[in-house]
């Protein structure tokens, strides 16, 4: 093959490639091996970096000590016992579940509806809607939190002056604020799935005189299900874990688990806090694994394979 006979295409992408014709083979190989080794080592280190803190928290939650957290005095479940019997923690856990479950249901329902409805709305409406979705995601959480608080406070004052009713911050205000971000999230996930959907089945269904309603439930919905499940689970965990927004818009008696944990962190690290942390990790991980299993089973029935068949793939793809 002669070099001039093969002109470099896409020269806009590849500006004159450095040609190294005199590259010595042995040196090149050592170099290659070094680069390979470094890539492997770096990757391994990052994974260790990501998991080490989690392992530390879980490990020390089993420590029997009642003094210094890091002084190992034997394996014990006593901290789990004391944490799970603590009525304040039980209350916070129940609040968190209540908020996260309601948020996830609302966000999944409204987000999926919006994704389906947007296909049928005029273009100008879709552009505005997309811009707002963008805004809801890029505005830092703290700004959303404080503006929501200001909005609640202002509108509650107005409601009091006009109608004499006194609204208070509570579950409803937390859930409404959490739902905003999560509606956007579910909508993006479902829309991504919709745009990549195979239309032939839908058309076949219409050719066979299927009603829109039946076509939706028998063809469209099963294909969207992985995105809907992923959206539900993401919403649940985001809401369950949220600290900043909840901190701004919660009222008396609606302390969630993250708020409780944050207040105990300020007093220092204790084995009990480690146990709560481990419980929170367990809850979020269970949610992830259950979701992964559901999506995987659905994909196997539908005969799909690969990255698409995992919650992980869905998140990485949309990321």
């Amino acid at each position: 093959m002669t070099a001039p006979a093969t002109p470099v295409t896409r020269s806009d992408v590849i500006p004159n490639v450095d040609v190294a014709p005199g590259r010595a083979k042995p040196r090149g190989r050592t170099w290659d091996r070094l680069v390979e080794g470094w890539l492997r080592g770096h990757t391994l280190l990052i994974y260790l970096f990501l998991y080490f803190p989690i392992v530390v928290v879980v490990a020390f939650s089993f420590n029997a000590t009642s003094r210094r957290v890091t002084q190992w005095e034997g394996f014990s479940l006593r901290w789990y016992q004391s944490v799970l019997q603590d009525s304040v923690i039980q209350g916070a856990l129940a609040n968190s579940f209540r908020v996260a479950l309601t948020t996830a249901i609302l966000a999944t329902l409204f987000g999926t509806m919006a994704a389906l409805g947007l296909q049928r709305t005029p273009r100008w409406f879709r552009s505005i809607f997309e811009a707002l979705t963008f805004v809801s995601i890029i505005v830092p959480e703290i700004v959303i939190a404080l503006s929501t608080l200001v909005f609640y406070s202002t509108s509650f004052d107005v409601a009091h002056e006009l109608f004499g009713v006194r609204f208070k911050l509570g579950y409803e205000t937390i859930i409404a604020a959490h739902a905003l971000f999560n509606i956007s999230l579910v909508m993006l996930l479902v829309r991504a799935r919709l745009s990549g959907m195979d239309r032939t089945h839908v058309e076949a269904s219409f050719d066979l005189y299927g009603t829109p309603w039946r076509t939706f439930w028998q063809i469209t919905f099963p294909q969207l299900l992985p995105a809907i499940v992923a959206g539900f689970l993401l919403s649940f965990t985001f809401s369950f874990d949220d600290y900043v927004i909840t901190y701004f818009v919660s009222g008396a008696g609606t302390t969630t688990l993250p708020l409780y944990v944050f207040s105990t962190i300020r007093k220092g690290v204790t084995p009990a806090t480690n146990a709560i942390a481990a419980v929170m990790l367990l809850i979020t991980l269970t949610v992830l694994l259950v979701g992964q299993f559901l999506v995987w089973r659905n994909a196997r029935r539908a005969g799909q394979r690969g990255a698409q068949a995992s919650v992980a793939g869905m998140i990485a793809e949309s990321g």
């Binding site: 830092p140 200001v150 944990v261 992964q292 992980a312």
Partner: protein
Amino acid sequence: MTASTEVAPAARARPRRSLPPGLLGGLLVLPASAWYLILLVAPLVIVVVMSFGTKSKFGGYEPAFILDNYAQALDPSRISPFVTSLIMAVAGTILCLLAALPIAYFIATRGGRHKSLLILLLIVPFWTSFLIRTYAWLTILGPDGLAGFIGGITGDSSFRILGTPFAVLLGVVYAYLPLMVFPIYVTMERMDRTLIEASKDLGAGRWATFRQITLPITATGLITGSILVFIPLMGEYVVPAILGYGRVFLIGNQLVLQFLESRNWPEGAARAVVLIVIMLVTVVFYVWFVNRGQRTREVSVL
């Protein structure tokens, strides 16, 4: 809506008794639109209006049209939280980039059958509680952990890591690293491999190929990742509050202080508006970069 290519088949083969597509679409997007209008547009508008107002005697808000709050927010003697945040956000983004690039490259090119597993392993920590992941570093960096260890070696028993910018930087890199890896991985994964082979056939070395083929093509992923990390970093509150002991004072800490403790809402609102403007400038730059010349494929921010 007829001009759109996205019209659902339901709108075409429509049998009797069903709603007109426009109405159905309107009904479906109604709840989400209401949410956007009431809990996104209205609050942001109120904050902007409030930023021009004054503080009333009881800590509330009194309507006015003054620029004092902005003068306060941008006063050189009180601007340091902004500067600190900006430095931390830029440093954190660069560190994430340096840490994420090799691992994304490794998974995309050497992952083989294990790609999905490797990505799942990145998602698991990201999925688990943000608060708990930040909290976990308290033990590791604390006086019984790394700080004590280093202090023991150097003989300086008062050596501390917690409460320093380094601890906060480590915390934010730890928290947001996966957000950097995902978009870079996706662009590298979708990259046309034949280009690399072509480059190698033409005699280019590994580094030359990486620098001249892989890097320009994955630029969109790099920028997307940087935006995804930079934006939450600018408004970060939890990490500096926990690992910085409040000594590393960022905009997030200042906003919490002004809204929940000193209750100076108009001045806090002005700071929030400045923060939003910084975000907008960053994002406009991002959109411009991604769409410039339409050479690179668009990868959405989420």
